[in-house]
Structure formats: structure tokens, C-alpha cells
């Protein structure tokens, strides 16, 4: 799948949704676009001719309602599509959340990183993004002495910087090395993502986008400039594309032996 081709498809998707919202004048088939887009519950899946699957949440949560415990947001990464050398997801995260490295690999922010692996027995190489795995039983939350590390009702694991004291216990507890510590004074933060010196931070699953009915920036970029290896959705919804894929194909979580039940699944790992 070439990059341009993917971009065009994404654009087509956007246009289709726009038209469905404003016009409603279909008639070329039994199901109008409006009905198709709006009628299928929380998530609408569109399978395009090339086999690329894009998903668009049809409805966002009402702004005055809390996150629902009926939802469990998760990711599925197809490592057979994820290419070594492609860092679209990392770039998208950096741009969306406003973090940057400081030339010290041990201390740089670790919201999301690409990991290249080689199976020594067979020589098979593959590449995958690793970010906060948004566990059902997050060790970071267990060990946090102040309650700053917490899990939202919809399964998103976050750091409440208001009460984080920067002890970094969670960083040691996380088996995925998904958290990092801010060592520098920071200015010009993104309005939706306050960050500051002395606090621990990690992938938020783009919670600000999810609450607005969107998908995480990494997933969006992976489907555009990237290789379309990432899928986002509600793991609790059996009709969601992510649930169907997990029910159909062999997937794994990283370190399933720890029984943390991460919300990030990998296919082809």
C-alpha cells in the first residue's frame, strides 16, 4: 500500500462522512450514507475495495457525561504491516502531544516508541510500536503512593499530574517501560495536554480525542502516512472491528504471563 494511496482513501472516508452529515441525498442504493454511517451503534466500519479497513466512531460521548465502564478502549497492531523504519505513529504522537527528546536516550519521553525485533532461531525480523498497554490490572496504579496513577472507567490508564509527586515508582513497576519522567521546565504546552517538570507521563491513548469521538493520533497517522497497521476500538463491543479481528486471528499481548490483561493486542508477533 503506497502512502499516497492510503491518504486518498482516508480523504475519501472523510468526504463520505461529511456528505452523510450534510446532504442525505443518496438514493443510489438501498441504504443511504446517512443511515449507513449513523445507524450502526458506537462504531461504524467501512471496508474499502483494497481491503483497507477504516473505522470512524459514529457518536462521541456527550460532553457532560463521564466515561462509561461498559467501554474498554484498545488497540490492535498488525506487525506484518508495521514496517521497520516507519515512525509515523511516533511522529504523530510527538506532534499531537507536544513532547520532544532532549538527546538523552535514557531520559527521553517514552510515550510511544518503535521496537525492531529479530527472532534469533529463524532470522525473522519485525517491527512494532510499544506504548502504555492500558492494562486491566495496571501495576503503576497498584504502586502509586498518592493515587495519581489511575485507571479511567473506560480502561484508559492516566497520570493525574495534579497529585503526582514524581517518585517514579510507577516507572519501575511498569513491565513495558511505558512511562517517563519530565526533567526539564516546559513551555508552550498543548492546551489539551498539560505537561510539567517533576511529573511522570505516558501515552494517554489520546483521551482528549476519544472523548471528542476521535481516534488516537498514532492510529490516524498510521492509516494515512503509515502502513495502516493500527486499529482502535472498543474491546467490549463484539461488533467492533477490533473485537472481530481479535476473535478471528491469533493475537497476543506483550508478556501475557504477567496476567495484566493489556488493552493493546499484537497480531503476527
Amino acid at each position: 500500500m503506497s502512502e499516497n494511496h492510503s491518504s486518498d482513501l482516508a480523504t475519501d472516508r472523510a468526504h463520505a462522512v461529511d456528505r452523510a452529515g450534510s446532504c442525505g441525498c443518496s438514493g443510489d442504493s438501498g441504504v443511504s450514507r446517512r443511515g449507513f454511517v449513523a445507524g450502526a451503534g458506537t462504531l461504524v466500519t467501512m471496508t474499502l475495495a483494497t481491503g483497507v479497513v477504516l473505522i470512524a466512531p459514529a457518536q462521541s460521548k456527550p460532553v457532560d457525561e463521564p466515561a462509561s465502564p461498559d467501554v474498554r478502549w484498545g488497540l490492535l497492531v498488525d506487525t506484518s504491516k508495521c514496517e521497520a523504519g516507519c515512525s509515523a505513529c511516533v511522529d504523530a504522537c510527538r506532534e499531537e502531544q507536544g513532547w520532544e527528546g532532549h538527546g538523552r536516550p535514557e531520559q527521553n519521553p517514552q510515550w510511544i516508541r518503535k521496537v525492531d525485533l529479530k527472532e534469533t532461531a529463524t532470522g525473522r525480523t519485525f517491527s512494532l510500536p510499544v506504548m502504555c498497554q492500558h492494562c486491566t490490572h495496571p501495576p503503576c496504579v497498584d504502586v502509586c503512593p498518592t493515587g495519581a496513577s489511575f485507571k479511567r472507567a473506560d480502561g484508559i490508564v492516566l497520570v493525574d499530574r495534579h497529585i503526582c509527586i514524581g517518585c517514579r515508582y510507577c516507572m519501575m513497576a511498569c513491565p513495558y517501560k511505558a512511562r517517563s519522567f519530565v526533567h526539564e521546565d516546559i513551555e508552550n504546552q498543548k492546551p489539551h495536554m498539560p505537561r510539567g517538570k517533576g511529573c511522570v507521563e505516558a501515552c494517554t491513548l489520546c483521551v482528549h480525542r476519544i472523548d471528542a469521538g476521535g481516534v488516537p493520533a498514532c492510529v490516524e497517522k498510521c492509516g494515512g502516512a503509515g502502513t495502516g497497521a493500527m486499529l482502535f476500538g472498543d474491546l467490549n463491543d463484539p461488533n467492533a472491528e477490533i473485537s472481530k479481528r481479535i476473535a478471528t486471528y491469533a493475537t497476543t499481548q506483550i508478556r501475557p504471563d504477567l496476567k495484566l490483561n493489556p488493552g493493546v493486542f499484537y497480531q503476527g508477533l
Binding site: K61, V63, D64, E65, P66, A67, F150, R152, A153, D154, L158, D160, R161, H162, D185, I186, E187, N188, Q189, K190, P191, H192, P194, R195, G196, K197, G198, C199, C206, V207, H208, R209, D211, A212, G214
Partner: protein, 137 residues
């Protein structure tokens, strides 16, 4: 005795004369006016309670994902941005920043801006209007 009375009279006169002057003409903060003409709550109420509103909103947004924008910090920043000499909004480092105008006077150091941006984003529209930008947690 007359001398003592005179002193007393002078003290009382001084108290009545000087204290009102202190109360009225002191170095009160110059509070920049916000945009839009009307705050989300009554001005006197906001002076006393803005910190509680912010804290309440922040916990609801951060912990529960309730993203109403009425009492969010981002709204304060958008309306109360003060333009500097270069035409850009001044940051919290400036004494002219809306929050600093009072907090410097009161000797209060809010640490909101260790993490939160103290100026509206470039090309900002009101909070919540931009896709993917809910209120500040």
C-alpha cells in the same frame, strides 16, 4: 490633662483620617478586563471561588472524562489573555498576565502554569470548538 486630651483627639483624628485613605487609595492591583464582557459567573463570586471551580472542573475532566467547558482553565486563559507590547499574549512570566495581576498582589503562587500553557494556542478559538481539543484536564 489638656495635653493628653489633645493627643487623644489627634490619635482619633489620625485613625479616622488615615485609615480610610489606606483603604481607598492603596496600591490595589490593576485587573485587566476580559473579552466577551461577561464572566461565566458573577465577578465577586469568581474572586472568592475561582480556585474551587477550577479544581472541581479539573477533577471531573481528568478523572471521569466529563468535558464541559464552563469552568475550565482553558476558558479563563482564552478570555483573559493580555496582549503584550509585541501584540502577542503575555505569558505567566509577565507581571501583566491576568493571573499575576492579583496573585502577585496577594502573595499567592499558583502552580497551574508549571504544566498548563499560560497563553491561548496560536489561532485559538473558544475551548471545545476545535475538534480534538476538549477542556484542559
Amino acid at each position: 490633662m489638656t495635653g493628653l486630651r489633645l493627643v487623644l483627639v489627634m490619635v482619633v483624628a489620625a485613625l479616622f483620617g488615615v485609615l480610610p485613605a489606606l483603604a481607598g487609595d492603596g496600591p490595589f492591583p490593576t485587573i485587566p478586563k476580559g473579552k466577551g464582557g461577561k464572566c461565566v459567573e458573577d465577578t465577586q463570586f469568581m474572586r472568592r471561588n475561582h480556585m474551587d471551580l477550577l479544581k472541581h472542573q479539573r477533577d471531573e475532566t481528568m478523572r471521569e472524562g466529563i468535558r464541559t467547558t464552563e469552568h475550565g482553565l482553558q476558558g479563563c486563559i482564552s478570555c483573559h489573555a493580555v496582549q503584550g507590547a509585541d501584540g502577542k499574549p503575555v505569558t505567566i512570566k509577565s507581571e501583566e498576565h491576568f493571573c499575576n495581576a492579583c496573585h502577585s498582589y496577594a502573595g499567592v503562587s499558583p502552580d497551574c502554569f508549571a504544566c498548563h500553557a499560560s497563553v491561548p494556542p496560536v489561532g485559538a478559538s473558544p475551548p471545545g470548538a476545535v475538534h480534538g481539543q476538549g477542556p484542559t484536564p
